[in-house]
Symmetry: none
């Protein structure tokens, strides 16, 4: 039932999971290759394998999407990664920029008890040291919490609930573009190159830089 995935397979699923959030189309072979620092031909091989095992849906030249089964695995890896990051920062004196490399290894340790107990030990944290949400055991992200626009998902609609730092110039910027508390914001497109984001405000499109996006807090609307 719960067939054991190899390390490589797990890394592919995780990469696809993260790439899926940047677009609604299937994830491209090239993007996966870039994310995993491998070659497109290697990606094609692996995607075929994952497709046969029903972790992804794949048709030649059409890109890849995770299936429900694949998403479940990926979310669980993300959960493990982020819980370990919390442990490293809170208990082992790692700084937030030191944790990633080690968490990349720890996320592949296989033991349900280990991760459940770690979660309890850490007091069920909702976010990792970078502010990313930690899914619960069932794979649900806590959608109630505010997230920064930089972490918002394509095609989802949000309500503005606050700012991080209250720079005067930043507040002027918001005023000028008619962004206030309660303003509805839809995420249209995220530019991978510079992490700028195209959003829609009452029918008007606006491009915001990553700097702005990181400083604006949203809450998802359903």
């Amino acid at each position: 039932m719960t067939d054991q995935l190899t390390l490589a397979e797990e890394n592919y699923l995780k990469a696809i999971f993260h790439l899926e959030k940047l677009s609604t189309k299937g994830v491209s072979t090239n993007d996966i290759a870039k994310a995993l620092k491998t070659k497109a031909s290697s990606v094609t091989d692996m995607i075929k394998k994952l497709s046969e095992k029903n972790y992804v849906n794949y048709k030649k030249y059409q890109g890849t999407k995770l299936t429900k089964k694949g998403t479940k695995i990926a979310v669980n890896i993300v959960r493990k990664h982020r819980l370990w990051e919390v442990f490293l920062v809170e208990n082992l004196n790692f700084s937030w920029d030191e944790v990633h490399e080690v968490a990349e290894q720890l996320e592949h340790i296989k033991s349900e008890k280990l991760i459940d107990e770690l979660d309890t030990f850490l007091n069920h944290p909702s976010h990792d040291p970078h502010g990313d949400p930690i899914p619960d055991k069932e794979g649900n992200f806590n959608k109630i919490d505010k997230i920064s626009l930089a972490k918002a998902n394509i095609n989802k609609t949000y309500s503005c609930v606050g700012v991080k730092d209250t720079y005067t110039a930043f507040l002027h910027y918001l005023d000028h573009h008619n962004i206030a508390l309660g303003t509805t914001i839809k995420v249209i497109y995220k530019e991978p190159f510079d992490n700028s984001i195209k959003i829609n405000l009452d029918g008007n499109d606006l491009f915001v830089s990553n700097n702005v996006a990181k400083n604006l807090f949203l809450k998802e609307l359903k």
Copy 2:
């Protein structure tokens, strides 16, 4: 300099390290195969590779011994394994007999800072939950004068410091009789006929067989 070993290579070095302690001769190919649940032919292949990289000394049909370089790696893996075991038992509610499988995975995580900080977090433990000594960062084992209960003296008082073989049933036996690391044991009587021993635990007497006595390690309290 510090070339990265593969998981398989690390496991071979660790297995050879443990087997070396059972004899002064070179470790046999078959014994390694048995320890790693693989075939003798696979062992020969790997040993040749490790020999070329100077982790072991090997001559055809003569068995294998770790070099200084190989021993250093092996001891470090043992250190990591045992530190993780302490963490699992003391902080994540694992029992003695649950830790091994997970520690087998955790011991291969590569990060010097991780293991140093873990050591500090755990307060530099000298023994793992099975009573086995934890080498320090330089690879030195802190020698303690442990003896088996079978060798203990009448009317002397000891502290439980470990077990010889970690049979699950044996660990359960200890649990059941409230014998754990640090438990104080006084030797009351030794039966010459079958070498069974009567001991006292917190005021309660208990008869243990020679089989049990040989498998339990103690340190004399003075």
